[in-house]
Amino acid sequence: MTLIDLANPTRFLALTARLLPWLAAATVILLTIGLYQSALAPDDYQQGATVKIMFIHVPNAWLSMFVWGVMSIASLGTLVWRHPLADVAAKAAAPIGAAFTFLALLTGSLWGRPMWGTYWEWDARLTSVLILFLMYLGLMALWRAVDDPSRAARAAAVLTLVGAINLPIIKFSVDWWNTLHQPASVMRIGGSALDKSFLIPLLVMAIAFTLLFVTLHLAAMRNEILRRRVRSLQMVQASRVAFSSELSAGSREENASKEAGAA
């Protein structure tokens, strides 16, 4: 099945119905393995057991940027290729991305208090992720503010692509500025600085959370397609009501004129 085939929402719904149970099962299995490995991971020589927060914080932080990346590609799909499901994908991803970004901020704050001595610091990494969170909220507000989905889609696509500028800023903020947040320790030139006992649970949790995102995203896209179907059927219903009331008004007028003629 190609991307063009998926342009048909009905075909997409049939595909999600087949895929969702498998994706959900794979997510549960990987999350269980990841949580088990995280629980058994050794304490860090400096951070002690608080290193376990990393297994939740880092996957959410990665996903906060990944989801915006997905939305940016979907926005290109809306503006350039006019793919019928592109704006559905972008709209459905926004609340999930916002939730992951919120979790990245919250767990980072809970990790920061014992390690840095503060819940929050206005350094470049933390501030740029907070801006990302606010942009997610802004995007969700924009979708709700415009009634017509196709008009909202174009405005949201432009805002998403402009917001994508923030992604490299988040990624390289720890290199460009002197931040309290540590530099990259997994995805960096020269390989990961993490020991395998931390790296393996972290990667399993990252894959599990990515699968969770894919599952939730497909389910949310299915819901959005159904919502649009409801909207179009309600418009059909409303036009039928308007047409029938016009017909009955017309026949009343006709009867009235006949009666007047007879009189």
Partner: protein, 60 residues
């Protein structure tokens, strides 16, 4: 037995918050789906059909 040290509350709160948010996300997606299906059934009962002639709730 896992020992979480002096900062156990921070670790437990992180995992609990993540679990809560994930449960809320799953709940939101499931409730939204049920709500859309209920609205489509309502439209189906009132005789509104899709241009293809299929039932409003038909997902195939």
């Amino acid at each position: 037995m896992i020992t979480l040290g002096p900062y156990a509350s921070f670790i437990v709160m992180s995992y609990a918050a993540a679990a809560l948010v994930v449960v809320l996300l799953i709940g939101w997606v499931m409730l939204d789906y049920r709500s859309q299906i209920a609205r489509l059934r309502e439209l189906d009962r009132s005789g509104v059909t899709r241009r293809s002639g299929r039932s409003a709730t038909d997902r195939s």
